[in-house]
């Protein structure tokens, strides 16, 4: 709808191409910013409620029905709060850092196809651009830690750099498998490749239904392993539990956001969630079929490409499911230690991701015919590799112990 509206406006403004371009960008950017700001608000509510239920509490229930207006109340509180800047901090960078986090996260969203024709910046090298811009996040976080002039902030900033740089490699490597298999860096093409064409446009409604799922990359051995690696690395990349070391509240207070208050803190908060949306959005695009989902032929249309449920509904549904998983993980797991975190990245995820790339190449080039057997073999192989790697890393494998009693 929005797209059609945008096209119509651009058509009307065709007389002056420059103006049309600016209006076009605005028309794409404004809904993006609004929608994701709303998503952010809803996610904070969801997170608070979900965590509360996991912890046997009720959660916010005073502001609005089910506490739904709690994010608004929080927002008002954040905006009206005093903005405290430490006297000895680097004021300019202290101000810039939260903006940079938000901007880089927001920019990443531009490459995600939310629905058919709903990619804000449809370029051929979207995946590369995505990772390039995501890398800016690291810089911003370190800037915040450095500029605050606080030892905890500095520790948090350094942890963030170490962690994000290490986890970016398995993240990219697992994305590489998809790029290899699809043969394109364009996110739209990657989504398109996950539809089984023959089924999706067939007359049989059952096949049509399945056609939208069966091609998801997550159902292939390399895709499955890739998705798990990608997901774990995404947790670390977005500083979510159990990899939330840069802001580990039990060790370094709040890490790099220790010295932030008021609206700047809210920006960090917002930026982090938007970053999480972006990375999850990429995960959906790469492995979970993007905006495709089980769908039906609308009764009013005979167009084989027409869908009953619009694509963006599927996309946001998937995003919130993944978000819920993040919340669930956050409610359950304790945090890793710095050295364990790093060794997990370098000694486990990275080799596994590399092996996964080889497996993907093998399947793509060698075992084209015997697909089923090759797939099973690849699954088993990947599992064995993962297990072997974990064995190798922990020479004195921690295990539950038996205890004896003295009478």
């Amino acid at each position: 709808m929005l797209v059609q509206f945008a096209n119509w406006v651009q058509g009307e403004l065709a007389c002056s191409p420059a103006l049309a371009k600016i209006v076009g960008i605005l028309l794409a950017a404004v809904p993006l910013a609004t929608v994701f700001a709303l998503c952010f608000a809803f996610t904070t509510w969801l997170e608070r409620k979900g965590l509360a239920r996991i912890q046997n509490r009720i959660g916010p229930n005073r502001v609005g029905p089910f506490g739904l207006f709690q994010p608004i109340a929080d927002g008002i509180k954040m905006i009206t709060k005093e903005d405290i800047v430490p006297r000895s901090s680097d004021h300019f960078f202290h101000l810039i850092a939260p903006l940079l986090v938000l901007v880089s996260s927001m920019a990443c969203l531009a490459f995600i196809p939310f629905g058919l024709g709903m990619t804000m910046s449809p370029i051929d090298t979207a995946v590369v651009f995505f990772f390039a811009i995501l890398g800016m996040n690291t810089l911003a976080v370190f800037l915040a830690g450095w500029a605050s002039r606080n030892k905890y902030s500095l520790l948090g900033g350094m942890r963030a750099v170490a962690q994000m740089v290490s986890y970016e490699i398995p993240l990219v490597l697992s994305a590489v498998t998809v790029v290899m298999m699809v043969g394109s860096l364009d996110t739209r093409e990657i989504v398109g490749a996950q539809v089984v064409e023959g089924w999706a446009t067939s007359e049989n409604s059952g096949l049509r239904f399945l056609g939208q799922i069966a091609g998801w990359h997550v159902f292939t051995p390399w895709g499955f392993a890739g998705f798990i690696i990608f997901f774990i690395a995404a947790l670390a990349e977005t500083n979510r539990s159990p990899f939330d070391l840069p802001e580990a509240e039990s060790e370094i207070i709040a890490g790099y956001v220790t010295e932030y208050s008021g609206f700047k803190f809210a920006l960090f908060f917002l930026g982090e969630y938007i970053g999480a949306f972006a990375v999850l959005g990429l995960a959906i695009t790469l492995f979970l079929g993007g905006w495709n989902g089980p769908n039906f032929q609308p009764w009013w249309s005979s167009d084989p490409h027409a869908l009953l449920i619009p694509g963006f509904v599927w996309f946001f549904f998937k995003m919130f499911v993944l978000m819920a998983v993040l919340i669930w993980i956050r409610g359950t797991l304790p945090r890793l230690r710095v050295d364990q975190l790093m060794s997990f990245a370098w000694k486990f995820l990275l080799p596994l991701a590399l092996v996964n790339v080889f497996v993907a190449g093998f399947l793509f080039h060698v075992a084209k015919e015997d697909r089923v057997w090759a797939s099973v073999a690849a699954f088993v192989f990947l599992y064995l590799v993962a297990k072997g790697l974990s064995r190798m890393n922990q020479s004195d494998a921690p295990a539950p112990r038996k205890y004896h009693f003295a009478e």
Binding site: G50, I54, Q55, N56, I329, T332
Partner: protein
Amino acid sequence: MDLLGSGIFKGMAVTLKNFAMTYFDRGRKERLPTVQYPEAGDTVTLFTRNFPFLIYDGEEEVDGMRCVACQICERECPPACIYIVKEKDENGKFVKRPKVFDIDVSVCMGCQICVEVCPFDAIVMDSEFEYSKEDRFGDLLFNRDELLKSNDYYHKIHPEEAQARDANLAAKKAADEAKKKAREEKAAAAAAAKAAAEKEASEKKDSPEASEPVAEEPKAEPAAPSENHAKAESEAKEKPAAEETPVEEPAAATDETEDAKEESSGGSEGKETSEEPEETAGSGEDDEKKAEEGEGVS
């Protein structure tokens, strides 16, 4: 390690179960223990205690007050949050009533020691807990009139305890009555002998009858001055003897021993701490006299 991360998945199953169970009725009781405070009721139990209050019997707040300003609670209060000034009538004599009875509830820790030491069941613990006030200092300093609450209220918040206390009081009163009667008879019989003995006593020693510990009942009239004087002397002799025994009589005995203990503890404290209210100075006597004043009320 059989499966990678199996422990983690087990843990996640537990949290998922907890998440889901909060939406079921059975789970709600078990797993959602939150009480929505202002709407849902409080959970006051039988012995719930917060801060003390003073009981009065009947309708009249001040007249029905059980407290006789014996100051035992003031002395025993561990954080020293009670402050008592005795009331005097026009003649400068003490009335068995506190003029000032302040409790600084910002200091009070609700330990219930005052309730335990009170021989008159006059101070008990309240279960009220909503004490938020606008003024941090002044409003949290409760004076006598704020502290006074009726016995009916006490019956309402701690029924069993209140009944026990009432029964205890009634029994004590009956015992006192009987004792008073007996003493009146005794006093009448000994009156003549006493008058004669008094002369001797002023020079030498007291008569043996007078030296036995006589506990005055709470509701009794103030004794005549001459009698008082004699008793003061007798007590002065009695006290050191009481102090020598390291362990005093058990508390949970008849009211007579209880009274005796109050006497001795009150007396010795009166000697040690010179912070006894200076009103007593009006009588112009020494320590014994002070102790006796304390006695006269209890």
